[in-house]
């Protein structure tokens, strides 16, 4: 794919990501929406000052940011036994047992108009961020997952709960393995599909295609769709057919 210098590429990524988000939101009606999250300006920068503009142009660029889709509900395909383990850390238990006393007996129970329900702790909630990696010059998928009450899923739990085909993909494919890295914008450790094999893989995908639109936003947008069609598989996320068709046509 045609890419110019790094800075241009970041801009291109921004454009492609916006196109991707628009298309996804248009075609994928049963899915939370993708949005572009610009990096917040650091508080020490005055956005309109001349100094800021000349010294830190990148901070003001809309291209600094990431594509985000959050709170994607994935119902794991594990047995119910596995599902009740979450959050039951040893320490947690210890703490709970200390507090599990008569103190907490409550007379709420006798309210006849409150629905008593089984909690749906089984659902897993994923946040996905697509961040441009300037070193590898490829998009990188960052993700994290939690149970419905906010308890974080560990990598082991993630791998266990993914569809069987994903587990296979993860062990067999050399370029979709999960690792842990600091999120470049949030500075907290997130899981990520390591980018080191992406470029090679994408070359394979586009091997037979004539080089279209050198450096153009359209070409990069196609790139992003193709890329996501592969990484999305890991989580059972399918790119809407219409988007793939539109890639095929242009």
């Amino acid at each position: 794919m045609g890419f110019g210098s790094k800075c241009e590429k970041r801009d291109e990524f921004h454009i492609a990501a916006s196109t991707f988000a628009d298309q996804w939101n248009k075609f994928n009606s049963s899915f939370p929406q993708f949005t572009w999250v610009p990096r917040p300006n650091p508080p020490w920068l005055h956005p309109t000052s001349q100094v800021t503009r000349s010294l830190f142009p990148s901070f003001l660029s809309q291209a600094e940011g990431y594509l985000s889709v959050e709170n994607v509900v994935i119902l794991p395909c594990t047995t119910s036994e596995d599902c009740c383990n979450e959050g039951d850390d040893e320490e947690g238990k210890e703490m709970l047992s200390c507090s599990d006393k008569d103190v907490f007996i409550d007379d709420d129970d006798d309210d006849s108009t409150t629905l008593v329900q089984n909690h749906d702790y089984a659902s897993h909630h994923y946040d996905f961020h697509v961040v441009y990696n300037a070193s590898y010059q490829v998009p990188v998928l960052y993700f994290r997952a939690c149970y419905s009450d906010g308890q974080v899923l560990l990598l082991y739990d993630v791998e266990k709960s993914l569809p069987g085909s994903s587990a296979k993909l993860l062990t067999e494919s050399k370029w979709t393995f999960i690792t842990q890295d600091d999120h470049p914008y949030l500075n907290r450790p997130w899981y990520t599909l390591h980018p080191c094999g992406t470029s090679e893989r994408m070359k394979m995908l586009f091997n037979n295609e004539p080089v279209v639109g050198q450096g153009g936003g359209v070409a990069v947008a196609e790139y992003l769709v193709s890329w996501f069609s592969v990484v999305g598989q890991v989580f059972g996320l399918q790119v809407p057919f219409e988007m793939l068709v539109s890639v095929g046509q242009s």
């Binding site: 947690g92 507090s99 907490f104 709420d108 006849s112 108009t113 749906d120 308890q151 842990q180 080191c196």
Partner: protein, 713 residues
């Protein structure tokens, strides 16, 4: 809108309780707020929760706390005002809800909180807001919530409990009808309602307003208006539905917000028959199949409505296992140690996935390594071992950190050398744990008894004790690195390792040359091994096996027994005077050599490979060849692999010496230490030297005459 089946079969309206979710970011922020700003202040903190209409037919939406829910650390003296209620205005998935957080300093404090009074206090605010009409200005006041929490910051675990105060109608509201909205509306109404809802949701000023009026005109035109406009709507003769963002996904239970909403409608508007819309959506658009339209009858007594008489309140969240607090442990996600462990593991796994599928991480992490010497070599070897995923490291050294050490000995800093200096073994272990807290490192301050350093009678006992201790240490480790700075200090460990048949790796430095080698198997175990192989491997060519020689040890090529090498030496000869780059190179090679041994199917019994034999060996071992020794020279920037076979006259690993040690134990050791010549006599070296001239080094690779002894310092 039809009211057909209103008469019979009326049931109580049952509400699906609000459910909570707390983002990891909230706990991060709370921890930092607690540590940096609040200290032991236990005052309630105003917070903002966020929720959105249900958007998944199988999963309710939850009231969520995010990092933004807490006031920022910079905020001064703003604890009385709701901090960031306006922060996320305009985000359709984050309708702000005012809440209050009681974070206690102790678990006892948490348990002692009067939950009944807390929820009543908060409900009273809702009650008052209803009566004063404040709800019309800000409808989210109907959703006020409470969180009580105790943060065990050291363990990264959090005990918390939500309450969503709900006013109990007495008697309960009765359901007249409750059906999917799509079944209650004409197609014109449905179309118009969808358009109106979507406009409401897509306008940043209204998207966060979770209670609203749906006005249906006679011509089916639907408009959505604020609560304050009720009179106007009624005067226009419109049919009015009380709409709200419903977090519940259930087909026959509206969500919790309807509770206080009905109380509000009943008190402010005096209605006894209420039509309501449980607004739910799919991917940002109203979903009329999921949304519900219902009709409820309220028949409370007039006294119930008076401001002075507070109704009963319910609303503490039922967590796993009933009315109990929730406990969440984020140690694995927040504790730097856990994070470092998983990051390190993933990094090694990455290497396996990418380049070395045969990499055996569990062998590495399970290997117990004993490092004799914690100087330039020891420090660097320890670091490289950790980088490879080795987790069990014992450092042995008798010295203290001196002022000149930190520059070359990479585990120390100047601080370690102050006040006379910390023991190296102790300082090194402390440093290893700082680098990687999960390392199981132990420091042992102890001198290694050496031949040629005679032991005075009065110290004999303690030296023998040291010998015994060293023996035990070697026994309980899998790998021993010889990294001391004198030749003679390596003799006893070499003997003990030969006797115990442990993987032994020696690294030694000259001024600009080094040797790194793995010792061969012990003389006794080889015999057993060969027997076993002869029994098991009939189909293998015997010549190769029977003709195989043991690999040599550090002392095999010497014709003198180890003596005091520091006596009569100038300072530059006594100290570690080497080119600074040498130790890291040799240390790294020593560790790489170990990794090769651990991955070789024959392990310690593996034959020596040469650089030339790379093509054969590399195919079976992805790590490459496994040489016996590597000698390198910085002056030539050259490095070569050599093989030296075990000598039957070796003072440390020959059969004679090991058998003698096994027979006489520490007596033998003491004799060797006090009388080095005894070893030469025992092994026949004395005799050998008398036959000087016939002596021949057993190099398998041609070497030129720079092959002088580079191992001594």
């Amino acid at each position: 809108m039809e009211d057909a089946d209103s008469e019979k079969g009326q049931k109580n309206l049952i509400f699906a309780p609000f459910q909570s979710a707390v983002d990891e970011g909230f706990w991060h922020k709370l921890s930092s707020l607690k540590l940096n700003k609040l200290g032991i202040d236990e005052s309630p903190i105003p917070i903002t929760g966020f929720y959105a209409p249900c958007s998944h037919h199988q999963v309710p939406s939850r009231l969520t706390l995010l990092a933004e829910s807490l006031p920022s650390e910079e905020d001064q003296e703003q604890s009385s005002s709701v901090p960031s209620a306006t922060l996320n205005q305009g985000n359709r998935n984050r309708c702000p809800v005012p809440g209050i957080l009681y974070n206690t300093n102790t678990l006892e404090g948490f348990q002692a909180l009067d939950k009944k009074s807390l929820i009543n206090t908060e409900a009273k605010k809702i009650w008052d807001d209803i009566h004063t009409g404040k709800v019309e200005e800000s409808s989210s006041l109907l959703l006020r919530f409470i969180v009580i929490s105790f943060a065990e910051l050291k363990k990264w675990s959090f005990c918390y409990w939500f309450a969503f105060p709900g006013l109990v109608l007495d008697p309960p509201a009765r359901v007249v009808s409750l059906r999917p909205a799509s079944q209650c509306l004409s197609s014109e109404q449905a179309e118009s309602l969808s358009a109106a809802c979507n406009e409401w949701r897509n306008t940043s000023l209204t998207t966060g307003v979770s209670f609203f009026l749906v006005c249906i005109a006679l011509n089916s035109h639907v408009t959505i208006r604020h609560l304050a406009d009720l009179e106007a709507c009624k005067n226009d003769g419109h049919k009015v539905l009380f709409g709200f963002y419903d977090p519940s996904n259930l087909p026959s239970n509206p969500g919790w917000p309807l509770r206080n909403y009905l109380a509000y409608i009943c008190i402010r508007w005096g209605l006894e028959k209420v039509h309501f819309l449980c607004y739910r959506e799919t991917r940002g658009f109203v979903d009329l199949g999921l949304s519900l339209i219902g009709e409820a009858l309220i028949s409370v007594s007039p006294e119930w409505k008076t401001r002075e008489c507070m109704p009963k309140v319910v609303g503490w969240e039922h967590n796993k296992g009933g009315a109990k607090p929730n406990v969440i442990s984020l140690a694995k996600a927040m504790d730097p140690t856990s994070l470092a462990i998983s990051a390190a593991d993933l990094n090694l796994k990455l290497m396996r996935w990418r380049a070395l599928p045969s990499l055996n991480l569990s062998i590495l992490s399970a290997s117990r390594c004993l490092l004799l010497g914690a100087g330039t070599l020891g420090c660097q070897v320890a670091r490289m071992l950790m980088a490879w995923g080795v987790r069990k490291i014992t450092m042995l050294d008798s010295g203290k950190v001196s002022m000149s050490n930190p520059l070359r000995q990479s585990l120390y800093t100047l601080d370690d050398s102050l006040n006379g200096g910390e023991f190296k073994a102790i300082a090194a272990v402390r440093s290893l744990k700082r680098i990687f807290p999960a390392v199981e490192a132990e420091g042992i301050v102890m001198a290694i008894p050496m031949p040629g350093h005679p032991v005075p009678i009065q110290e004999e006992h303690s030296v023998l004790e040291d010998c015994g201790r060293l023996c035990d240490l070697i026994e309980c480790h899998d790998v021993i690195f010889l990294l001391t700075d004198t030749r003679e200090s390596r003799w006893l460990p070499t003997l003990l390792c030969s006797s115990a048949n442990k993987i032994t790796i020696a690294a030694a430095l000259g001024f600009e040359s080094f040797v790194v080698m793995r010792h061969g198997t012990g003389p006794l175990s080889v015999i057993q091994d060969l027997k076993a192989e002869n029994l098991n491997m009939h189909n293998h060519s015997e010549t190769n096996r029977t003709g195989r020689q043991r690999l040599g040890c550090y002392f095999c090529n010497d014709v003198v027994a180890p003596i005091d090498s520091t006596a009569n030496r100038t300072l530059d000869q006594q100290c570690t005077v080497t080119r600074p780059g040498l130790a890291p190179i040799a240390s790294s090679l020593a560790v790489e050599l170990l990794v090769g041994i651990l991955h070789h199917p024959m392990g310690i019994y593996a034959d020596a490979d040469f650089a030339n034999s790379a093509t054969d060996s590399s195919s079976e071992n992805s790590l490459g060849i496994l040489p016996h020794q590597i000698r390198g020279s910085l002056s030539q920037f050259s490095q070569m692999t050599l093989v030296g076979h075990a000598s039957s006259s070796c003072t440390a690993c020959s059969r004679t010496v090991v058998l003698e040690y096994q027979k006489r134990g520490l007596d033998f050791v003491l004799q060797a230490i006090n009388h080095p010549m005894y070893l030469e006599d025992l092994t026949g070296l004395t005799e050998l030297k008398n036959l000087a001239g016939s002596f021949n080094l057993d190099w398998d690779v041609e070497t030129d005459d720079d092959e002088d002894d580079c191992v001594e310092i």
